[in-house]
Symmetry: C2
Subunit: 345 residues, 2 copies
């Protein structure tokens, strides 16, 4: 599959590109009755499971810029953001469909790199690529993905189950992806990043470029019924709190001092961007962590879940309230929760 | 839902647009455990059925031009092309996900018109909209759809089952959509079309703008096991023959004089475009008819199927051959089958 570096995807054409992808698709699991290559794929549903389906797109110039996001990260991320949605439902990923709207001038090497990022993540979570589409783009590169997972009936995690008194938890850290995006955009990536922000900033960049969806944590929270609600941090921490509150018709009191913002991200927001680090962190999207609520009687079970979740830190960041306002307490001061990442405007 | 005519989708923003769509979603069928509005949808698979999934995108400037394709046709077509893929598998449509990449300058009236076209077709085939996404586009409008259907295990129609001696059939007509596209592009739409090409050309335009996917025919061909293979005419008649031949490792002899090209399309190709009408018709994409093969012993059963298919004409256009070439016989002369609609180049 080596090609001259200057060869473009338009030189190859749709059929050759599809063949290039098919050549990399691993042997299909037994439940794929018919994979890529027909008008549609045929898959057998998982026994005694409901199906969980989601779609999300990455658009060049809106969600990423090829100047500072390498091809492998684009392919990785297109799948990761959808697996993150499945994780937030407590679902086990099974299959995905990938629709690519592709500028003809993209090099075949970049196309291969992009698909390499996809397949590396797909293989980690055993996600079968069962269908797709390639269309020419007269403008930006668009990767549109539908992911399909399975969940035990009535064990799906939703935004609706939070009750007053439940603890509010977040996995990993908050604001890392936003800081990583700023750093990549400013050109302080790679070796520079280590000088400017140390290893912590490199981790923020990795979280921005190749977020690891919290699949295992989501599965455990759903199967054990430890979480009463769950949502992912695609549009930021503040937006996630708002979604759970709206879905469950409750409010929240967030302990702002407990929100786990990485030191390197905090420094970048304050020193380089002259931003309030807390506001920047909770408003910045793309963390792809999970925000979930846990009833008091399930908090001991949570400890067991976290042991099984492979060392992923989860932090209690607040409490669900009956009063339907969203409040942050920082150094004793109560303020309304602001922020939220607007994809469209 | 009335808005000032000049209001744009960017004025409204992502959340308001999603609410606008949700307000139009009909009551969900009982198998939709959780519809739009969470990280993902939860659906119960149909009992004793395999699942059929497909994805296809419509890209502005590639598959349509807003100068001559009205908003309702765009919404209709985005769903229709996916239902056509399900029909070609013999599957019954159930659900769809719609991902829209949307230029901010699009008017809210056009957005509503587009969704009106979607919902009209979705209601005709009882397709539940269970998820979606809206992202901003810095360039073209893109509608990316995933459709989900169900089929009895081992009753899915594929491209693999054609055997030498099987008859080759096509539903409806061939070349209508291409002629309709030419006519719309030349500005001869609407009242002009009736003058230039009569009612026949208006029908070609309708086939181009609002193709009716052959859902019922596909279902009947699959359930009765009348067809040995099936494919839709998304990329044209010639390409469809090629797909079945390649998938089944057979050849085909096409009776060129039997291919049902509408008179109005033939006239438009010859008089306006100075094209060979047959070549133009079999190369033109977007007919969204079904091409299928029927073993000799099932041809009587086919007659019964066609009676049930609601008056949709199907025409025998050739025979599957063991010799793996693709031949057209026109007025006694044998030539190789050319053509095929290239989406990408």
């Amino acid at each position: 599959m080596t090609t001259p570096p200057e060869q473009t995807v338009a030189d190859l054409g749709e059929h050759a590109l599809i063949e290039r992808i098919r050549a990399r698709v691993p042997a299909a699991p037994s439940w794929v009755a018919l994979g890529m290559g027909d008008d549609a794929a045929v898959i057998e549903p998982a026994r005694n499971r409901a199906e969980v389906v989601t779609t999300d797109a990455l658009v060049e110039g809106v969600h990423f810029d090829r100047a500072y996001v390498p091809p492998a990260a684009i392919g990785h991320k297109a799948l990761a953001v959808n697996l993150s949605d499945l994780a937030a439902m407590g679902a086990e990923p099974r299959a995905a469909l990938l629709s690519i709207v592709l500028p003809g001038a993209m090099s075949v090497a970049d196309f291969d790199g992009m698909m390499g990022g996809w397949f590396a993540l797909a293989s980690r979570y055993e996600v079968a690529l069962v269908g797709g589409n390639i269309a020419r783009s007269p403008g930006p590169l668009v990767l549109d993905v539908t992911a399909i997972g399975s969940v035990k009936p009535r064990r799906a995690l939703t935004r609706r189950g939070a009750r007053p008194g439940d603890g509010i938890y977040v996995s990993g850290t908050v604001g890392a992806a936003a800081a990583g995006r700023f750093a990549r955009r400013s050109g302080a990536g790679g070796a520079d990043a280590r000088e400017a922000g140390g290893e912590g900033l490199a981790a923020c960049e990795a979280r921005f470029l190749q977020p690891d969806p919290r699949v295992r944590l989501g599965l455990l929270l759903g199967r054990t019924a430890v979480a009463s609600s769950c949502v992912d941090l695609s549009d930021g921490f503040a937006d996630a709190v708002r979604q759970v509150a709206a879905g469950s018709q409750v409010g929240a009191e967030i302990d702002g001092d407990a929100v786990p913002i990485p030191d390197a991200a905090r420094r970048w927001f304050e020193e380089r961007e002259r931003l309030d680090a807390f506001e920047a962190a909770v408003s910045g999207g793309e963390d792809y962590e999970l925000l979930f609520t846990v009833p008091a009687r399930r908090q001991r079970a949570l400890t067991a879940v976290l042991r099984l979740a492979g060392g992923l830190a989860c932090t209690r960041v607040g409490t669900v309230t009956a009063d339907r306002t969203l409040v942050v307490v920082r150094r004793g001061a109560r303020t309304p929760l602001a922020g939220g990442f607007a994809h469209f405007r």
